[in-house]
Amino acid sequence: MSATTEHTLTCRMQAEPAALERLCQVVRVRGFRIRQMSADSADGQLTIGLTVSGERPIGMLQSQLEKLHTVAQVSTETTLALARA
């Protein structure tokens, strides 16, 4: 089993009513937990900052988020290994 790692993501998506639900559901189902979250909307776009933790490779979450039809861009900024609880 690999150690839990914390990752910071930025996601730009269309600001439709279910936007945050879609995003959060993918994060949970794909094995990550949200530690911190922020959301700004402007011009019909949402910019979401996320700090998530999990044991799986973050690339897996990124490609699943990119698959959401309303997601325009996802970038992974930093990763930080957490001491195992």
Partner: protein, 584 residues
């Protein structure tokens, strides 16, 4: 034109001529518009799950978009299993539900459920239409999204007032361009040009024991011809997943059959031995790979798929190429015809496996009673025409169909793979018969599964569909019984169905004639009789209660650990506590 009429107009424009639905309060404006609609046949199923699964079967058999329609609340919740089924198997589907009027959303109105929220995890995308004038653009987007890239279900939930609003001014779909131009995911943008194949070719030329591993993506991409040309030119031995059955056609000399939990020894041995696995349109499902750590332990992976998110998900690929399978396969074929692979020894080894380690043959000269499922399916395969479409349900009978029926094309095999939905077969066969009115469509069901959507017998009767229904009746939930026998110390729990209804009487209630057989010498006559009959007919087949599907790999074990009949360690009598005793 109101919203409802606009939907029907969009159907016409997209040549959507068959839809499966069930009316109710909030979708009534659409049903009202249907009265005057031309060019769209609405098929009334008898349960919304039947509608969704029929739309799924229609799409699988034809490659076209499947459409299902239901009302709010219970109509929508009843669709869920069918939509999830389509989602797991990447079937193009448009789902339309009525919702309570906009002003009542969020007030716990009669038949209100949060359809958008409920369906998030089982759709490719979904919409709740909040502004009537957005409906035209949403419809256009949904119809193309469901079929683009990796297909899937797209759900539009439409409040009743939106269906009634006049949106004549918006009838032109380009009138709301902002939505149509909304953010496009990497998956759904038009397929990229053919990626650079040189790394893949280098790996192929360096491999000594390369193997083809193909899945449902080949058929979904309409790439069967390109796939077969590639398989022939390369001479690569090939294994298929449940959804890839038929990819090679029935006469290919190179194929080793299905791999995985109920795969052939030949297929699992080849995967175990290969040094390169070329994965095409497959997602390395756990039923196919077995324990990942033991899967293809010596192999490097080349992965070709339409969906970026499938790469490296379960196994790291040395080369991962996203694109249109047709384009990539044609380019690979071209390259290999210029410079063929030198793999004669490996081909010979695989051919030996294919001839000596295929699925255990059940053909029997002597008359046996009751009938064995595999033997029945082998005869079915020999007697039916090459283009017959076989739907099946879920359980042992499904695996016997996968193992013993020789499919010539992936669209001839309708099987619920990812979700494993009992009750899939009957409505899927109905959908397939609408898509392919001139082909023989047969549903091979189990006695448990058949009861899960038996109400659809009424749909067969209403539309006089010439479907052929086969029930392999082992008087139990055979697949569960098998696993209880093998992995739970033979403690049978809630699998007994010896109080099944009289299926022949049941069929008669729907004007469907039937025939019962129970000895192996009756199989041929039975199959020929239902095929010759002009109209729907049921063949009820009494099969052995305790037959198992062989080989089997224990869930969680590696595919090398295949168990066979001779490893069966059957105790004299199973420990049984029937549901009737429990209830007494």
């Amino acid at each position: 034109m109101n919203g409802a009429q606009h939907i029907l107009e969009a159907f016409q424009r997209h040549q959507i001529d068959t839809v499966f639905g069930y009316p109710g309060g909030c979708i009534m404006p659409l049903y009202d518009a249907l009265v005057d609609a031309e060019g769209v046949e609405h098929v009334l199923c008898r349960h919304e799950q039947g509608c969704a699964l029929a739309a799924d079967g229609y799409a699988r058999a034809s490659g076209r978009l499947g459409v299902c329609i239901a009302t709010s609340g219970p109509g929508a919740t009843n669709l869920i299993t069918g939509v999830a089924n389509a989602h797991r198997d990447s079937i193009p589907m448009l789902v339309i539900t009525g919702q309570v009027p906009s002003a009542l959303i969020g007030t716990d109105a009669f038949q209100e459920t949060d359809v958008l929220g409920m369906a998030l995890g089982i759709v490719k995308h979904s919409y709740l239409v909040t502004e009537a004038d957005e409906l035209p653009a949403i419809l256009e987007e949904a119809i193309s999204l469901a079929q683009q890239g990796r297909p899937g279900p797209v759900w539009i939930d439409i409040p009743k007032d939106v269906l009634l609003t006049d949106i004549a001014a918006m009838a032109c779909p380009s009138a709301a361009p902002d939505i149509a131009q909304a953010a496009q995911s990497t998956l759904t943008t038009t397929a990229p040009p053919c990626p650079d194949l040189s790394d893949a070719l280098a790996l192929l030329h360096n491999a000594r024991q390369p193997l083809l591993y193909s899945g449902g993506g080949v058929g979904l991409a309409g790439a069967e011809a390109a796939f077969r040309a590639f398989a022939d030119t390369s001479g690569l031995p090939g294994v298929v997943t449940l959804k890839g059955i038929g990819n090679h056609g029935k006469h290919s000399p190179h194929q080793l059959g299905m791999l995985g939990m109920h795969g052939s020894r030949a297929a699992n041995l080849a995967v175990d031995a290969c040094d390169l696995l070329l994965v095409i349109g497959a997602r390395l499902d756990d039923r196919a790979t077995g324990k990942l750590a033991d899967f293809a332990p010596n192999a490097r992976i080349i992965h070709l798929d339409a969906d970026q998110a499938e790469f490296h998900k379960l196994r790291r690929a040395e080369v991962a190429l996203r694109g249109d399978l047709n384009t990539m396969l044609q380019a690979l074929t071209q390259a290999l015809s210029n410079r063929p692979l030198a793999i004669a020894d490996w081909q010979a080894q695989c051919r030996t496996w294919a001839t000596t380690k295929g699925f255990p043959a059940a053909d029997n000269e002597a008359t046996v009673a009751p009938i064995h499922g595999p033997e029945f399916v082998r005869q079915l395969s020999r007697i039916t025409p090459d283009d017959a479409i076989i739907a099946c349900d879920v359980g042992q009978h499904q695996m016997w169909v996968a193992q013993h029926y020789q499919f010539d094309h992936p669209r001839h095999h309708l099987s619920s793979g990812g979700l494993g939905t009992m009750g899939f077969g009957l409505p899927a066969a109905i959908g397939a018969q609408f898509a392919r009115p001139d082909q023989v469509v047969i549903n091979v069901s189990g006695d448990g599964s058949f009861m899960m959507n038996a109400q659809e017998l009424a749909t067969i009767r209403r539309y006089r569909l010439p479907l052929k229904l086969i029930i392999l009746d082992n008087q139990c939930l055979g697949m569960v019984r098998q696993q209880q026998e093998l992995f739970y110390g033979n403690r049978e729990s809630q699998i007994d169905l010896d109080d099944n209804p009289d299926f022949l009487t049941m069929a008669r209630a729907f004007d469907i004639p039937s025939l019962h057989i129970e000895r192996s010498d009756q199989i041929r006559r039975g199959i020929e009789t239902i095929l010759a009959y002009q109209g729907p007919m049921l063949l009820h087949v009494a099969i052995a209660r305790d037959d198992n599907v062989w080989p089997i790999v224990k869930p969680g074990a590696g595919n090398r650990e295949m168990l066979d009949e001779h490893q069966r360690n059957r105790k004299e009598t199973p420990t049984t506590k029937t549901s009737k005793e429990t209830a007494a």
